[in-house]
C-alpha cells in the first residue's frame, strides 16, 4: 500500500466543445460533426463521458490511473436531463489487477449545455429520424449533463472526501481569493497519511474539522473507524443481515439492489467487515455500471450492487415502491398518489436491463426483502449463537427506533424459525419498518448536501423525528458481536495435542487440525483437516488443553512454541519446518 492519502483527483464530464453519442464510432474534427451514422432519438441516447481534468498529471509508479473510471462515476451512463437534479455523492470500489482496492468518491452535479454543446445537440436532432417532440417545444427546453468530481484513494476516508468535494463545489460557485487548484493541490498532496494508531491527522475544510485516523495495529484494519454501519441497519432487519452473511460464507452469487448508489457501497462494505477474520475473495463490484451488467451471467460467486433502474420489467414490483421514492430526488417531484404533471420525454426504458441467473440471491435494500433464488436460503447460524448475536445487536442498535417498529414495542421475540424465503413476509409483525423511512430518509442517501423533506410532501406522511438526539454508534461493539460468532465456530482451529509428556523435551507442538509444512511434506496441499474438525467435539472444548498447558508451565498459545523449544527429530517430523 502506498503511503499517500489520495491517488488522484479527477473531473469527468462531457467534452466542452462537443457531444459525442456513446455508440457512434464518429471521430473527426471535434467542432463540427459532419457525419453521424443513423442516430435514434438523441434525447435518449447516452453520451461519451471524458476525463476533463486530473491531478496529478503523471501516474504514480505504484498505482496507475484506474481504467474505466468514467463507467464507475456515471454508472447509468451520461444522459441528458431536462431538469437539474440536486448534487449527489456516492463512493465505489474498484479492484485493480494486482488485487488492491481503490476507493472512488464521486460528487455529481448537473450543468446546462454550453453553446457549442447545444449546437451539437441541435445538429444531432436534425439528423435524427426518430423524434417524437415538436421542434418548437425542443427550442424551449433546457438540457443538462452531469459532471463528476472524483477522488481516487486507497484509504476509505469517504466522509472526509465527501466534505471536501462539497466544499470545492461550493467554492466554485463563489468568488474566491485563492484559486480552486490550490485547494485541490493542498488536499491531494499535503495531507500526510496517518499511521496505524498512535496519531491522527486533522484538517480544516471550511468551518469543519475532519480527522483522518487508522485503526491501531492491534485492531483489524477492516474495522475502520470511518466506516458507516448505520445505513445497513437502517435498510435491513437483523435477521436479513445475518442471512446475507451466511450467504456470503457459503459463497453465493449475491446482488444488492437499491435506488441509492451510496447505499450499495455502504452496505456491501459493512457486510464484508462483519466476516472478519475471513475475507471475500471473489468478484466484488459494489456499484456495477450498466455497461458491465454481463458480469451477472458469470458462473462464479460474486457480490455486486445494481441500481433499481437496471432491474428487468418482470421485477418492477420490487422497484415500484423504490422508484416512487426515487422521484423525490429525480426529475419528477411526486409522491405516490400525485400523478406526474407531464410526461418526461427522457423517461427510463428497460432496454439492456439486468438478466439474473436463477440461483442468484437478490437483496432489495429499499424494501428489506431478499429473494434467495432457486438454491434456497443458506444454512443458518447455530441457534445459540444466533440468539446471542440478536441480543447483542438489539442492545447496540436500539436507536433505530424511528425505523423499526418491533424495536419500538419491544415485542418478545418469537421462537426463531428456520430462515424463510422472504423474511419480511413471514415476519409475524417483528420486522416491519416504519413506512416514513421510505419517504423521509431513503431518497436522501445519495444527496450531497443535507436536505429536508418539503413541507408540502411531509403533509402526506408523518415525518419521523430523526437526529434529535445525538448518538454515538458503537461500531466496534457491532463488529465484536459478529466476531464472537467466528471465535465460537473456529475456536479449536489451532488446537494442539500434547505429545510425549514423558520426554525430556516437552512439546505440545502437534496441531490437531492444521497441517504445517514438515520435512516429509514441505508443501502440503491440504492445510486443514476439514472433516476431522467437522466431526470433532462440538461445542469445542479447547479449554481443557489451554488450562493443561498453563498448569504445565508452557508458554502461552500465542507465542511461537515449536520455534522456541529444542525439539527432538522424531517430533520435528510432524512439527512445522523451522
Amino acid at each position: 500500500m502506498a503511503d499517500r492519502l489520495i491517488d488522484y483527483f479527477v473531473v469527468i464530464g462531457s467534452s466542452l466543445t462537443n457531444l459525442l453519442p456513446l455508440s457512434s464510432s464518429y471521430e473527426g474534427d471535434s467542432s463540427t460533426p459532419s457525419f453521424i451514422p443513423s442516430i435514434s432519438n438523441p434525447l435518449r441516447i447516452p453520451y461519451t463521458p471524458q476525463i476533463l481534468d486530473r491531478y496529478p498529471l503523471e501516474d504514480h509508479e505504484d498505482s496507475s490511473f484506474p481504467s474505466g473510471l468514467t463507467l464507475f462515476c456515471l454508472p447509468e451512463g451520461m444522459n441528458l436531463i431536462t431538469r437539474p437534479k440536486p448534487a449527489s455523492f456516492f463512493s465505489f470500489v474498484q479492484t485493480s489487477d494486482t488485487g488492491s482496492q481503490l476507493i472512488g468518491s464521486c460528487f455529481t452535479f448537473y450543468e446546462p449545455l454550453n453553446e457549442k454543446q447545444r449546437k451539437c445537440l441541435d445538429f444531432l436532432i436534425d439528423q435524427s429520424c426518430d423524434m417524437d417532440v415538436s421542434s418548437s417545444a425542443l427550442a424551449q427546453m433546457k438540457f443538462y449533463l452531469p459532471r463528476c468530481l472524483c477522488i481516487i484513494s486507497q484509504w476509505p476516508f469517504v466522509s472526509a472526501y465527501k466534505k471536501f468535494l462539497c466544499h470545492i463545489y461550493r467554492l466554485s460557485l463563489t468568488p474566491c481569493y485563492i484559486p480552486l487548484e490550490r485547494y485541490i493541490c493542498n488536499f491531494v498532496d499535503e495531507i500526510p497519511l496517518p499511521p496505524s494508531g498512535k496519531m491522527e491527522v486533522s484538517y480544516f475544510i471550511g468551518t469543519e474539522t475532519v480527522h483522518f485516523t487508522r485503526p491501531p495495529c492491534n485492531e483489524p484494519q477492516v474495522w475502520s473507524m470511518n466506516m458507516f454501519l448505520q445505513p445497513l441497519f437502517e435498510c435491513l432487519s437483523f435477521q436479513n443481515i445475518i442471512s446475507i452473511i451466511t450467504a456470503i460464507l457459503s459463497e453465493r452469487q449475491i446482488v444488492f439492489v437499491s435506488s441509492q448508489y451510496s447505499l450499495l457501497t455502504l452496505t456491501a462494505e459493512a457486510i464484508l467487515s462483519f466476516i472478519f477474520p475471513l475475507k471475500w475473495t471473489h468478484v466484488y463490484i459494489p456499484i456495477l455500471p450498466k455497461q458491465l451488467l454481463g458480469v451477472l451471467a458469470a458462473p462464479l460467486p460474486f457480490l455486486v450492487g445494481i441500481h433499481t433502474s437496471f432491474l428487468p420489467e418482470s421485477d418492477s414490483h420490487f422497484a415500484c415502491r423504490a422508484s416512487a421514492s426515487f422521484r423525490l430526488t429525480g426529475t419528477r417531484h411526486s409522491l405516490p398518489g400525485n400523478e406526474p404533471h407531464e410526461e418526461d420525454p427522457l423517461s427510463y426504458s428497460h432496454e439492456g436491463s439486468a438478466v439474473f441467473q436463477p440461483e442468484t440471491m437478490r437483496v432489495f435494500l429499499d424494501t428489506n426483502e431478499i429473494d434467495f433464488g432457486s438454491v434456497g436460503a443458506p444454512p443458518s447460524l447455530p441457534e445459540s449463537r444466533l440468539k446471542k448475536l440478536l441480543i447483542d445487536l438489539r442492545s447496540l442498535c436500539s436507536f433505530f427506533l424511528p425505523y423499526w417498529s418491533h424495536l419500538i414495542h419491544f415485542l418478545p421475540l418469537p421462537a426463531l424459525p428456520a430462515f424463510p424465503f422472504i423474511f419480511s413476509k413471514s415476519a409475524q409483525g417483528i420486522d416491519k419498518r416504519n413506512p416514513d423511512w421510505e419517504y423521509c430518509q431513503l431518497p436522501f442517501y445519495d444527496s450531497a448536501f443535507p436536505m429536508a423533506v418539503r413541507p408540502a410532501d411531509a403533509d402526506e406522511v408523518n415525518v419521523c423525528e430523526k437526529g434529535t438526539q445525538p448518538f454515538e454508534f458503537d461500531s466496534r461493539g457491532v463488529h465484536l458481536a459478529f466476531l464472537n460468532v467466528f471465535t465460537y465456530l473456529l475456536q479449536d482451529y489451532r488446537k494442539y495435542e500434547l505429545l510425549k509428556l514423558h520426554s525430556p523435551h516437552l512439546s505440545p507442538a502437534i496441531s490437531r487440525y492444521l497441517i504445517h509444512p514438515s520435512h516429509s511434506d514441505p508443501n502440503p496441499i491440504q492445510k486443514f483437516r476439514t472433516s476431522e474438525y467437522l466431526h470433532g467435539e462440538f461445542p469445542p472444548s479447547a479449554l481443557s488443553f489451554y488450562l493443561l498447558s498453563r498448569f504445565l508451565g508452557l508458554p502461552p498459545l500465542t507465542t511461537a512454541l515449536p520455534l522456541c523449544l529444542p525439539l527432538p527429530q522424531t517430533i520435528l517430523l510432524n512439527a512445522p519446518r523451522l
Binding site: L180, I184, D189, S250, L278, T487, T558
Partner: protein
C-alpha cells in the same frame, strides 16, 4: 469445562461446513499456517480473541489466558497532527506562478514546523499545475 451453550452437532455442521469449504477459509488457513510466527496482526488478533472468549466462558475464573497483543495500549491514538491548510503555503510567489504557470512540477520538499499553539505541522512547498 466449557460453559458455552450446547448446540447439537448437526445444527452447526451445515454452517460450519460451508465456512470450512469456502475459498475465504482456505486463504485464512494459508495465512495462519504460513504466518507461523504470528506476524500477521489480523490472525494474532483473532487468536487472542479466541482466548478472550475462552476466558469469558471459563468458570475457572482464577486462571486466565494472557492476551498481551489485545491489551497493548501503546498503539492508541495519542497525538494529533494538523495538516496544512490551503493558506499555509500560499504566498505571493505562488500567485505569480499561477499567473504564469510553468509546466514543470517541482519536487515536494517537506519539513515539519511548529505552529503557534505548539503543535507539529507538516509543511510542504510545492507548485501545482493549472487545471482547466
Amino acid at each position: 469445562l466449557s460453559t458455552s451453550p450446547s448446540d447439537h452437532p448437526s445444527e452447526c455442521t451445515a454452517t460450519l461446513n460451508s465456512i470450512l469449504q469456502s475459498q475465504a477459509f482456505y486463504q485464512f488457513i494459508e495465512a495462519s499456517v504460513s504466518n507461523y510466527g504470528w506476524s500477521d496482526p489480523d490472525i494474532l488478533f483473532f487468536d487472542e480473541s479466541i482466548e478472550v472468549q475462552i476466558n469469558r466462558s471459563s468458570f475457572l475464573s482464577f486462571i486466565k489466558l494472557d492476551t498481551p497483543f489485545l491489551l497493548d495500549v501503546s498503539h492508541k491514538h495519542a497525538k494529533t497532527i494538523v495538516a496544512p491548510s490551503p493558506m499555509d503555503t500560499f504566498d505571493d510567489d505562488l500567485l505569480r506562478e499561477i499567473a504564469n504557470p510553468t509546466d514543470s512540477l517541482i519536487a515536494a520538499t517537506q519539513f515539519i514546523s511548529t505552529d503557534k499553539t505548539g503543535r507539529e505541522v507538516f509543511r510542504y512547498s510545492k507548485n501545482f499545475p493549472k487545471l482547466k
